[in-house]
Symmetry: C2
Subunit: 262 residues, 2 copies
C-alpha cells in the first residue's frame, strides 16, 4: 500500500528570529503540496524576553534550565508570541495553520525529566504522541504549527526541545504516512568541505555513514545529527533532510539503504 | 428539530488571575456535560506583564489601546501564558481542551478598528466566525478554549474583547446548536438589592426588561449587559446567564419572552 506523503519541517530559533529568513521559510512552506506540519523553536526570543523580565537564563549542554519563572516565559514566547505570529502569517498565505502545544488535545504528553546530575526543572521528555488527534486534524485539512512545549497531563506545561518534538511526531505518524522530516537551520547539509557550500553531498545512505565518519567527511556536530536521522529512519520515517530555510527542496537527504535485487 | 446543546462560558480576567476562583471555575467547567467552549480574558496579567517590560498601558472606556509592543504582550499573555495554563489544567481534569486564537484555523477574522476619535491601535472588530471549523472541532470531541485574540487574515494578530469573542461565537453557532452563553464574573447576576446577594432575580424575560429599568431594579452597568444579552437572544442564542464562577448553574438567566398560547 502506498502511503500518503507528509512533510514535517522543523525550523530553529535563528530562522524564526530573523525576519528575512522567516518570510522566506513561510513562503516555501506555504507552497509545499499535501499534508504538512511546521515545528518551530524560539530560544533566542525567550532568552531576550527572560532578560527583560529579570529571569536568569541558564543553559547546560545547550539545554535550557527551566525554572517556574522560565516556564512562564517559554509558555508565553513559544506558545503565544512565536506560534501565533507564524500562524497569522501562514493564514495570510492561504495555509490553514493551527497552532498547538503538546497540551492542546493532549497532542504530546511528557514526563518531567528526573533530577540526576542536573536539575533541568520544568523540562519534559516525550512519552506519548496522540497520533489519532494529529491524524484527525490533518485529515480535516488543518496544518499544525507545533510549539516546543508539552504537558504532563497533571496540569503543568513542560519545555521540550523542538528537534525532539519534530522527531517524536515524525516517528508516530510514520505508521500512517510516508514522512519526510526536514531540519532547517543555518547548516545547508552535509558538506565535503565545510568552507565550500558547493561541496554539498546530496544523499547519505546508512551504508555510507560509517565510512564517511572514518574518512572525516562527517565530523563533529554532524555526527549526532545523522545518528538521530538514522534512528528516525529505523523507526519508519521515510527520509530525513538537512537543509537551509531558503532551500526546502535542497540540502542533504538521509535515506535507508536502497533495496538490492537479490 | 431539537438542536444539541452547547455551553459557551466566558470568564473574565479577574477569575483567571485568582488561583482559588480559577480552580473552582475549571472544576465546574470540567463537570459540564456535552459540548462546551471556554472563552477567557486576562487583562490584569497583560497589564502586569506590560509594566514589567516597560510597555505603557493606556485604557479608554475600559478598552486597551494596543500599540505594536502591547500587541506582542497580549499575544504572549492571552495566547500563550493564560491560554496554555488553562488548557493544561483542563487536560488534567480529563477535558479534551484545545487552545485557540482567532488566527488558528481562521476561527475568527476581524478588521482593525478604523481610527475615528480614538486610535485603538491593533484592536480587531469581529467580521467573520468560521462556524464550519468550530463545528468540526466540537464534533471531533475537542473543547475549544478561546483567547481574546483574532487576526486580520493579512498576517497580523489583533486584540479583541473576550465578551465580544464569546457573543460572536455564540451567535454563529446558534444555527447549529441550542446555545447557552454564560458570563462569569464577580457579579452574581441581577440583584433587586445590590447589597443583598439573596435578592437575586433568577430569570429576566424580554418583556420584563423595560419595566425593570423604569423601576430601577436594573441600573447602571447592568443595563448594557442585559441589552447585549437580549441582542444575542434576538440573534438565536437560546439563553444568556450572568453568574459567578463558583456557581455555573446559578445566577440570572436572560430569556426570550415565553411563547403564549394564543
Amino acid at each position: 500500500m502506498i502511503k500518503e506523503s507528509l512533510n514535517i519541517i522543523k525550523v530553529g530559533g535563528a530562522v524564526v528570529e530573523d525576519e528575512k529568513s522567516l518570510s522566506g521559510l513561510l513562503m516555501s512552506f506555504s507552497s509545499l503540496h499535501g499534508k504538512k506540519i511546521l515545528v518551530h523553536g524560539g530560544g533566542k526570543i525567550a532568552t531576550e524576553m527572560a532578560g527583560k523580565l529579570g529571569v536568569e537564563t541558564q543553559m547546560i549542554d545547550g539545554r535550557r534550565i527551566t525554572s517556574a519563572e522560565m516556564l512562564k516565559v517559554v509558555t508565553m514566547v513559544y506558545g503565544g508570541l512565536v506560534n501565533k505570529t507564524i500562524v497569522a502569517r501562514l493564514q495570510a498565505l492561504g495555509v490553514n495553520a493551527l497552532g498547538l502545544t503538546g497540551a492542546d488535545m493532549n497532542i504530546i504528553m511528557s514526563v518531567k525529566r528526573p533530577v540526576e546530575l542536573v536539575n533541568f526543572g520544568f523540562v519534559g521528555d516525550v512519552k506519548y504522541v496522540n497520533t489519532r488527534a494529529l491524524v484527525s486534524l490533518l485529515e480535516a485539512g488543518a496544518v499544525p504549527v507545533l510549539a516546543p512545549l508539552t504537558h504532563d497531563k497533571e496540569g503543568s506545561m513542560l519545555n521540550t526541545n523542538a528537534d525532539t518534538i519534530a522527531s517524536s511526531v515524525a516517528r508516530a505518524l510514520a505508521e500512517k504516512y510516508s514522512v519526510t522530516l526536514t531540519f532547517c537551520s543555518s547548516i545547508p547539509g552535509v558538506l565535503k568541505d565545510l568552507s565550500d557550500p558547493s561541496s554539498l553531498i546530496k544523499t547519505v545512505a546508512k551504508k555510507d555513514f560509517e565510512p564517511m565518519v572514518a574518512d572525516g567527511t562527517i565530523s563533529e556536530g554532524m555526527i549526532p545529527k545523522l545518528q538521530n536521522a538514522f534512528d528516525a529512519i529505523n523507526d519508519g520515517v521515510s527520509k530525513v533532510v538537512i537543509t537551509s530555510p531558503s532551500d526546502l527542496s535542497g540540502g542533504t537527504t538521509i535515506l535507508a539503504d536502497p533495496e538490492t535485487d537479490d
